[in-house]
Symmetry: C5
Amino acid sequence: MRRLSIRNLHVSLVAGTIAAIMAMQTAPVVAQQVTMDAVTIERSMILTQPGVFGVVTMFKLKPEWDKVPSYERMGSAAEVANLIEKHKDAVLVDFYLTRGLKTNSDFFVRIHAYDLAKAQTFMREFRSTTIGKNAVVSDTLVGVTKPLNYITKEKSPNLNASINAASYIGDAPRFAIVIPVKKSAAWWTLSFEQRLKEMEAHTVPTLAYLTNIKRKLYHSTGLDDVDFITYFETNDLLAFNKLLTSLATIPENNYHVRWGNPTTLGSILSPEDVIKALTE
Amino acid sequence: MRRLSIRNLHVSLVAGTIAAIMAMQTAPVVAQQVTMDAVTIERSMILTQPGVFGVVTMFKLKPEWDKVPSYERMGSAAEVANLIEKHKDAVLVDFYLTRGLKTNSDFFVRIHAYDLAKAQTFMREFRSTTIGKNAVVSDTLVGVTKPLNYITKEKSPNLNASINAASYIGDAPRFAIVIPVKKSAAWWTLSFEQRLKEMEAHTVPTLAYLTNIKRKLYHSTGLDDVDFITYFETNDLLAFNKLLTSLATIPENNYHVRWGNPTTLGSILSPEDVIKALTE
Amino acid sequence: MRRLSIRNLHVSLVAGTIAAIMAMQTAPVVAQQVTMDAVTIERSMILTQPGVFGVVTMFKLKPEWDKVPSYERMGSAAEVANLIEKHKDAVLVDFYLTRGLKTNSDFFVRIHAYDLAKAQTFMREFRSTTIGKNAVVSDTLVGVTKPLNYITKEKSPNLNASINAASYIGDAPRFAIVIPVKKSAAWWTLSFEQRLKEMEAHTVPTLAYLTNIKRKLYHSTGLDDVDFITYFETNDLLAFNKLLTSLATIPENNYHVRWGNPTTLGSILSPEDVIKALTE
Amino acid sequence: MRRLSIRNLHVSLVAGTIAAIMAMQTAPVVAQQVTMDAVTIERSMILTQPGVFGVVTMFKLKPEWDKVPSYERMGSAAEVANLIEKHKDAVLVDFYLTRGLKTNSDFFVRIHAYDLAKAQTFMREFRSTTIGKNAVVSDTLVGVTKPLNYITKEKSPNLNASINAASYIGDAPRFAIVIPVKKSAAWWTLSFEQRLKEMEAHTVPTLAYLTNIKRKLYHSTGLDDVDFITYFETNDLLAFNKLLTSLATIPENNYHVRWGNPTTLGSILSPEDVIKALTE
Amino acid sequence: MRRLSIRNLHVSLVAGTIAAIMAMQTAPVVAQQVTMDAVTIERSMILTQPGVFGVVTMFKLKPEWDKVPSYERMGSAAEVANLIEKHKDAVLVDFYLTRGLKTNSDFFVRIHAYDLAKAQTFMREFRSTTIGKNAVVSDTLVGVTKPLNYITKEKSPNLNASINAASYIGDAPRFAIVIPVKKSAAWWTLSFEQRLKEMEAHTVPTLAYLTNIKRKLYHSTGLDDVDFITYFETNDLLAFNKLLTSLATIPENNYHVRWGNPTTLGSILSPEDVIKALTE
């Protein structure tokens, strides 16, 4: 239907571009569409697929939480476990403890879902649990995973090979760091080739840390007030400080409107252990 | 009366411009005046007409809401339905659920009215309902619809034709996104022709998304602290992320003082379903 | 006494300028001094005179207001009327309803007084009324009126004539808009002649709106964190949006550090009607 | 001991500078040291000496204050008088009423002390009085007085003479204004000579106001998040608006990172009258 | 494993750099690893070693604290002493009193630990003490100590010698100041040699203050939203004002995105004395 209307376009200074862009952009929209019915959430899959929504919600306990009877606070762990079980075909749920390390939150929750509405439903129901009712949301970040954009096999073969040649080794990471990123208009209005070049320079210093720092990226432009949610897991915070200091020295840093603010650093724990730690 | 006084103007470096601008600007003010009496609000009309006021109000439930007895919370759905019925000749009302996706709101309300005072009266009375009393306003945006300014049949015929040649198809959209926009002095002080050229470049990447993303624009300069309220509906959030990423690459992006902050993403639901979801 | 000390000044690179500036600035300070004793406040006079203090205070009702018995809330209208009567020789008082249109206020009050201390006393006593006690101040703006600075008969005769040739006609305006303005150091460090030229360009697009938009200016530099409080009344909000959009296109806009933030839009109502509307 | 180690310095590109700066800066640190023991606070002395700490604390009454029985609120005046008497050998205390003129405070307190620890102790004990307990601190500014830096007899003899030739005359000032100032890196990295030149230009327009506006300066760099606290007293707010407008036109204004924010305008009253005004 | 994959890298414009950076950065990550088991915390050691985590947490007492019975508030001192004793093999704990000098805090706590998780556990348990429960966290800063980066024996021998030649003398300092620092992308994208030159210039004015101001640095990039936490102790606040004013005049100041905000100035006291002061 749209193709017909385009045929009627009078040739003008923009018409050629219009047609090209419409063709180019319509295709992937369809191609990446995810079938949402009858999906069973499998951790290893959902954490590596494109087209998956990520919702990160920071919570700060209200003073009222301290007045909830101790057994009821502990009981909240079972309540949350039941909720996770109920939604296990719709969302993947991770918990993190931030109390003691952050000002504005005591814990945070990361949700993955193929359908954002299902993530919303889980988070809404979580708000009605004992711990959810006794906490205020201090920040929410919504994003979606996408295939690699710059450092692909085709566009940057050497770096792509380097990235794929190493992976995290050693003990399970104890810490997670969430750093939201917003880039400037100056960044986005660079040509793709220029951005590719900058992202190659950005990628080089990360290679040394592939074995001790895990990384995951969510795209948020239009869905939230940031462009990206960068998520890291590590056991070696000194290495993480060095990686981020290295990234700061890369010219791409000039295009950051927001890098952190807040940076959220927490301990990776089971939902039960997070609730236990906040109950003691 | 004003014309007489102008005749007496001594010719000066500014006098010619004065007369021209006064003539030019007085006319449309009168032409677009809307008769406010005896209007029955019809959705399809009010959503497409110029000169219509839009008020978007974000609400965050107070902790007290949880303590309102469950039947009273559910009863609020009927209370709100009655209020909407009472004002049906004055305002059009839409509800959206944001709990689970946003930090600062649980739901938002969009009002359309030919007379802003009537929108104010509805919103004021809504504040006295059970749910209104138990919620705080976290943001309010006021704007007014106007005829197309740049991409008109006369000024940009090809793009205008492209816009009109395609429209939203497929299932009713499940998500709405509200993105307030403020443009810089550098933007406004460009000549109209330059702004037209930039808006043409801005419009091109939007064409590919006419069939899966709906868009509506409100003008807010002087009425609020933003210049525009952009409102979108879609079923395909990945496409929406791509559209907004494309728009970020357009030079017009350099003129954004504010683009979002907050971006509000919510589910499109009936007032009853929003209240039900917040009652469970 | 000061003149004597200046005579003793050794001639230096700055001495000449010192003397000139001291002479220039001392004069108007004396000239505009207002006799404060035994003044009866007359609306038409105080609203047009220079040397009058204006205090605009935005209020947001506390949740406790809803719990005040209905007859007591209504009784507050009489209480406020009595307070206004008591201070009628000291201050002129105007009320505006913002609930439904603004996030941070439900109503605002504008005070005019020849002595700022008397405005302070009224506002302090208002805070002890039932409605004052149940409201928090969300913003306060303090300014003072002064004679025209740029578009005077001497400095810009044509524009001055145009401004004086037209005045507001038609029904009493239903809406008021308060827009605080702060200008950049770049503005203030322009020469007076350059600022005059810019203000002439600023004035031109306002001429078309003299008949449907009223305007009043307060100077706040040093008294508050803004340079100006601009206050408007109109019945035609679409025209107001056009006026402010036109002003945005004037180069003077490049010198705005703050223009709004907040823009406050409210309905012009009697104190009684504002309190009634907030009581229903 | 430090001198010995410097002798061992190998001559290098920085060594000469090091020695010069160390000599230069060590001296005044010693010279201005204030003996803190057995000082009796005398208003006229402590207000003119260098090396005196100033602490300005803004307070906003809590809603609970209204519920304190009236006699207890009035009694707080005596309680505060006793506290001032108790600390009269350690601190000088001034009170100001801001309710009715400011958003974020109802009153503020200015403390002078030779030892900052004593100012802290007074302010801490004030927080335990009835009015202190029922108020929240909305802002605190800490600074220290120093000898004139730029407009000295040696560096700028004419302006120094002008400043000394005139002083405040007339009735006791009724209003005080506190304006915190932070200057940009661009300012601080100017050479001293350039800054002297700019401060001379800054000083010129102030001369006309020496007889009707009092001024006091506190240095805060490193002690607080501002560089200076500027404090004014006047009876003529229109003159004050003109002075600050004049200062805005001076190139030094280009180096302001913060000038106000908040500007605090209050009435100069005895502690008793401030508490009385807030009790009525 | 990673080395093998690098061998397969096709030589490209980035490959050489990749290898160099990987070799360079991997080494120190390993070298500075700290063995965390069976460490007994010794003040003099942990305060001088690299690889130590520092957590600075600012607290503001809630109004509820005033309602806690006096003996219970005093008892909190013993409770906190017990907690410190319990964790003495895991963390070093310091307390500071800010009430009377700061707006947003009444006291702050500085923790040192070889393992950040142990610092988190202490701070989490502190939140469950009587004073912890009655306080809100107003700010948290997390950093880690590292060896000198710029002014080392190798890179800047003269300045390094000067720093080592002098140390704090005189009475124990009574005041501590915490100033968080964030540097701009422009800073980080300078070459190391340029940054070294700037840091040498920065270091010169600090030499004069080595005997009366103590200084400690924590690196926070990636762990928090600042790059550095600078911590000072002194008895001479006038000298501190002069030092910070001197640092402001150094070109490095042009690269500060954040310097303070908040600057936190407090009195150095034992935990017991801080709690006592807040109990009176």
